[in-house]
């Protein structure tokens, strides 16, 4: 884990309210594993907002020493990040937390993304394609509406089939992404044997319930408000079968069934 001030190389508006930023951070690019996150801040000088914001790693380019993140503007921290321009420095701490496991014997992997939970799954899919090309990956991607579905061309380039669901029906199936997954799991050519999910808590709970009832193993990536991001403050805990566990150290990736939703 490193703390660094990284120069911003790109700040792209992906869709209204969504930004992709690319930064020069060679040490982080070298160490980063899919599922891990960075503690990001606009500047070391600001005391309001005081805390860094946890954001998942979307892409790394190890050769160029670059890291990309995607975030949605929801409050002051992300608003300030969105205003940063190329050449500005950002404060980064990471890579932090646990990574997705490859699911050793799994053959048909369902990636289930809800909204801004998509980016770490892309990083995971990218690495999995390299490390285990024999595995069959499918993305189930749910969001509020069509403009909240990001980077679909990147997934296409990765040659991962994408099934989309939107709450307003403006693209793909209308309704919950977990329902879309069930339809495909039951009606598709072959059932899935591994689930990897990142998204809002109700979706993760639904995935955990599905995993349990279908008997499919997998992992989920959780969110929690964080202060230190390194395991010291005990502020980010979630309830698990082993009692309270830190989302920043024992998570954000937990085995399906471990978290008590």
């Amino acid at each position: 884990m490193v703390q660094t001030e990284a120069v911003m190389l790109e700040n792209q508006l992906l869709a209204p309210g969504y930004h992709l930023i690319r930064v020069a951070a060679p040490a982080i690019a070298r160490a980063a594993q899919p599922g891990q996150f960075l503690q990001v801040r606009r500047s070391l000088l600001t005391e309001d907002p005081l805390l860094s914001r946890p954001i998942s790693i979307y892409r790394v380019d190890q050769a160029r020493g670059e890291v990309s993140l995607i975030f949605r503007i929801v409050g002051r921290g992300t608003e300030l990040l969105a205003q940063a321009t190329v050449g500005d420095t950002l404060g980064l701490l990471g890579p932090a937390g646990t990574a997705f496991a490859k699911g050793e014997t799994a053959q048909r992997v369902a990636l289930i993304a809800g909204g801004i939970g998509m980016p770490p799954l892309y990083f995971f899919a990218h690495r999995l394609k390299e490390a285990a090309p024999q595995k069959d990956l499918t993305l189930f991607y749910g969001a509020a509406g069509a403009t909240d579905l990001l980077e679909l061309t990147a997934w296409q380039a990765l040659q991962v089939p994408v099934y989309t669901a939107t709450m307003d029906g403006s693209k793909g199936a209308q309704g919950l992404v977990t329902d879309l997954f069930m339809t495909e799991h039951q009606g598709g050519r072959q059932p899935f044997d591994y689930l990897v999910a990142c998204g809002p808590e109700p979706m993760l709970k639904a995935v955990a319930d599905l995993g349990k009832s279908l008997g499919i193993p997998g992992q989920v990536s959780l969110e929690a408000h964080m202060a230190c991001g390194v395991g010291a403050c005990l502020g980010c805990v979630c309830q698990t079968k082993q009692g309270y566990q830190r989302v920043c150290v024992e998570g954000p990736v937990f085995n399906l069934g471990e978290v008590t939703f």
Binding site: Q3, H225, C228, V230, A232, V249
Partner: protein, 305 residues
């Protein structure tokens, strides 16, 4: 002129510099190893240790507020036995003195932890947390009236010869009265301040943000209050003070020392920048040189001395 002298004497402990981590923000020292290991600090102050394991409060436990944060961790800790098996062997590898922060639900529990840990040569002093706002029994209950604060102090004083530092709550009408009472009961030093009791409401959910409803406010937002309290207490007692509350800069650390603190602690500031202690130590040295001081002890309480 050489390097300015940074060593201070805190209740008989010789510290190589006056910077300490604030209890509960630095774990037992391991988590921050990549940025500021135990060797950086004048002493390590541990997360609170109780007699038995405490599970802590349900989440959400923290919430950011303007230039500060609320926390209701609830003193989650694995208990004194586990602390001796896991934390002390790690801390023993360093020269830095270890100050163990103690919490309890009863006076007997405070004394029991102090008695057990007094046997361990790695432990150089105790800090009694009689001021945590986040546990229902104990904690702050002892720290909000002079009599009970004195009673805990006395009980622990009887079971240990190690330096005894008592950590005071700002959630009181007269912090000077409590400080005097604790000094008379045998404390060798004081820490102030702990967090200020606060809360926040989620207007969409129409309920408090923290599962515990209330939490302790820390960070730059509380600094003026903390500084005022250190200033008042330092002039009222003879024992040394660890000043804390919102320190995120050299300037802030110097203010506490000039208000009368012998040492200063950094809590929430570490979350913002884990290299803060190193930067502040260098910053204080630079200030002393620039202003023509040879020794940090020359500026302690300089505003009123």
């Amino acid at each position: 002129m050489g390097e300015p002298r940074m060593a201070v004497n805190l209740a008989g402990l010789k510290l190589s510099n006056p910077l300490l981590p604030a209890s509960g923000t630095y774990g037992y020292g391991k988590e921050y190893l990549p940025f500021c290991g135990p060797e950086v600090w004048g002493a390590v102050v541990t997360k609170g240790v109780s007699l038995e394991r405490w599970p802590g409060n349900p989440p959400p436990r923290i919430y950011e507020t303007p230039a500060g944060m609320l926390n209701a961790i609830g003193l989650q800790n694995p208990g004194v036995q586990h602390f001796m098996e896991e934390a002390l062997p790690f801390l023993r590898q360093y020269q830095t003195p270890v100050i163990v922060n103690i919490v309890g639900k009863t006076i007997e529990e405070y004394a029991a932890v102090a008695e057990i840990l007094s046997e361990r040569s790695e432990v150089k002093a105790f800090e009694l947390n009689i001021s945590c706002p986040n546990v229902k029994e104990g904690g702050i209950a002892f720290g909000t009236c002079p009599e009970s604060a004195a009673a805990v102090t006395k009980a622990v004083r009887q079971v240990t010869n190690l330096p005894l530092i008592v950590k005071l709550s700002p959630n009181v009408t007269d912090i000077v009265a409590i400080a005097r009472s604790v000094e008379a009961a045998g404390a060798d030093g004081l820490s102030l301040i702990n967090t200020l009791l606060g809360m926040a409401i989620d207007v969409k959910k129409r309920q408090p943000v923290l599962a515990n409803t209330m939490g302790g406010l820390s960070g730059p937002a509380i600094k003026p209050v903390a500084l005022r309290m250190v200033w008042q207490v330092a002039q009222a007692v003879q024992i040394p003070i660890i000043g804390m509350g919102g320190i995120t800069s050299t300037q802030a650390a110097l203010e506490f020392i000039m208000a009368g603190a012998t040492a200063v602690a950094i809590g929430t500031g570490l979350f913002k920048d884990p290299r803060l202690p190193t930067k502040i130590i260098a910053g204080i040295k630079g200030f002393l040189v620039e202003e023509g001081f040879q020794d940090i002890n020359e500026i302690r309480g300089i505003t009123w001395r």
